[in-house]
């Protein structure tokens, strides 16, 4: 079964690779991946769907949460969430089936974004399985080309973000001074005021 993971991460070079590295290092193939900035342009929201063995699902999400650039990784698979995808379909259809194509497009609540003598370009959004059906239907009208966005997910639960508060950096090492090189493991203060969900 496909697992959907939603990740809030810092918009920094290499951050994407760190996340996908958790999966590739374990030999998993990513089915879909979308990423774009959030309301805060320094942060990105990523949705990944991947087929992970049941036993390792929690482990994968935990490993992602460990990444320094990741603020929060959560498994949307078994929790209340909306998952949507967009597809662009170019269908080359004969003149006599144009009306039927338009009708089908309407049934799927899709939009015609280009029309030419050769056929249409259609934009559809919805549940990924629904889009599979849409593509199947369009295929019956002629040669098609498809570009899918991959799943975009959003949890319907309120998830509190637990962020690390700032800590004091190394200070000049005078007597009694603290240097981060002598900070005992986990010495930084933990816990912080809840931050609104982004």
């Amino acid at each position: 079964m496909l697992q959907t993971i939603s990740i809030l991460l810092e918009n920094k070079p290499g951050a994407l690779l760190r996340v996908t590295g958790v999966l590739s290092a374990r030999g998993y193939n990513i089915e879909t991946l979308t990423v774009a900035k959030t309301l805060d342009p320094e942060l990105s929201r990523m949705t990944i769907t991947v087929d992970v063995e049941d036993r390792l699902r929690t482990q994968v999400v935990k490993q992602m949460n460990k990444l320094v650039n990741v603020l929060q990784a959560s498994d949307l698979t078994d929790s209340p969430a909306v998952i949507r995808e967009m597809v662009l379909v170019r269908v080359r259809c004969p003149q006599d089936s144009r009306t039927s194509v338009l009708k089908e497009a309407e049934i799927f609540h899709s939009r015609i974004v280009d029309s030419s003598v050769e056929g249409f370009a259609i934009e559809a959004t919805g549940d990924p399985e629904k889009l599979d059906e849409f593509i199947e239907v369009m295929r019956t009208y002629g040669e098609i080309e498809v570009s899918r966005s991959g799943s975009v997910g959003m949890s319907l639960e309120t998830r509190k973000l637990r962020l690390q508060p700032p800590v004091q950096a190394a200070v000049p090492s005078g007597p009694g001074a603290v240097s981060s090189s002598t900070i005992p493991s986990g010495a930084a203060p933990s816990g912080s005021a809840p931050v609104p969900v982004i």
């Binding site: 290499g14 482990q59 962020l163």
Partner: protein, 594 residues
Amino acid sequence: MQATDHHPHIRRAETGKLMTGAEMLLECLAREGVECFFGYPGGVTIPFYDALYSHHIRHVLVRHEENAVFAAEGWARATGKVGVCCATSGPGATNLLTGLVDALMDSIPLVAITGQVHSKLIGSDAFQEADTFGITRPATKHNFMVKSIAELPQIVHEAFFLAASGRPGPVLVDIPKDVFQARGHYTPVDTIHLPGYKLFTEGHAGQIRRAAQLVLEAERPMVYAGGGIILGNASAELTEFCELADSPAVCTLMALGALSVNHPSYISMPGMHGSYAANMAMSECDLLIALGTRFDDRVTGSLPTFARHARVIHVDIDPAEVGKNRNPDIPIVGDVKRVLSKMMKVMHELKAEIAPEAAAKKTEVRQKWWKQVRSWKEERPYDRARSATEIRPQHLMDTIDKLSGGQAIVCSDVGQHQMWAAQLIGFNEPRLWINSGGLGAMGFGVPSAMGAQMARPDKLVFAIAGDGGFQMSIPELATIVSQSLPIKIIVMNNGYLGMVRQWQTLFYNNRLSSVVLEGFPDAEKLASAYGFAGRTVEKPEELEDALRTAINYPGPYLLNVKVTPDENVYPMVPAGGAIFDMVFAPETPAVVSA
């Protein structure tokens, strides 16, 4: 301006001072308390080394970048401070890789600085260019590429903070040549803000209480202490806990010395080459108290049979380790030092509430368990037998144990000698046993001993290696001489890649494919070629004197000990087997009592 701790005459740079990136990096290192680091210069790091020329921080020129990381690890493992190493771009950086993964596997705090080609050349397949940032991503806890001098100080301090805090690990900072050369106004960094870096330190109070309750109720408790005890400086808490819980304890390969070898609770190392008593006790306990450990396959053997009667308390600072290999009954994510202190506080409270009759009954049940554990210990102790004709490897390690008295630093390479050393050499305190545990990187012993000896000039430091691993480290003999490090290199020479040979013997019909190490050099000549002393010893009756000579020699010493070539390490749990199914030596060899 403030003077530094170690160098009172050195004054820290003023805010706004104009300096180069190279000078800024050194300023940051000094502020982090770095006294010494290990490295190898190259084209793009020349500006950095130029600034270093007139700086107080000591740089140790190694003979291969891999050994710079291993030496920095030795420093870090011996002190608990962040080890630092430096390499140039391209081949310099790629040579660091093994050591970075080693530090990652063993959670060793480390900062690696690498030079990178000029920013304008990145991505052009420039001379000595490699995608260090990409290559080292899965080899580090975190890594950075510095894009401008403005972000340099912040990144360097973040790197040190990441390396040392939480579950420690290696952090790499890749710096292009032009950033070293650029000039900028230096502003000291006062805060580090890494919102996504989650630190879990305290442990859940409710879980700690439940754990304390279980510890007191258990009939056959067992403490399973891992490297986290040493990394978290929790040795004193562990000792107190074992006493309060009245429980036997094992220390894994990464935790030797966390509980003194002389402590009555201490059994030995568990696992593939652990003792009979340790593995039986792990298998038969009804409560396993896992502290700062990760249920490594070399400890657990087959997971379904591991500690099969036991409920499990698992304390670890890394949430991803809890439940990774074994689902604990009580998971506690936190710093083991703090969690143990809190747990003991609760235990004291709970103990006060127990009625005297119940307490007496409990003591009786526990004594039965202790009796059982002791009888396992007596039944099959480690083999320390000696031969009259050959030096058995066990004889060698037993003698080192006797001469070091649990006080010396022992830096081990990887292989059979590592297992015999771990079995037979005892340690009275943490940070004396230094080895490549998780990665098992051959060539680790000698360079890590350099770092350990630099950090602890007061200590007797042994580098114990096989004839295979030693030959991976020979270039560093020059470093040892140039730095006047009085390391005692003990080569356990059996003429084989012994551990591979053992597996071939036991599991591959003794087809000894590519494991015979011919052509080992004359130790005395080799040592004297580098300007120090060495010898080969073959006769069992000469061993102890030879070791004493090495120890008393006022400088480095190479002792090549020719041992029985075909000795196997026992007990052995075949890979994937249950740890109570141990294989023992087929027969007890001819014995001369120790």
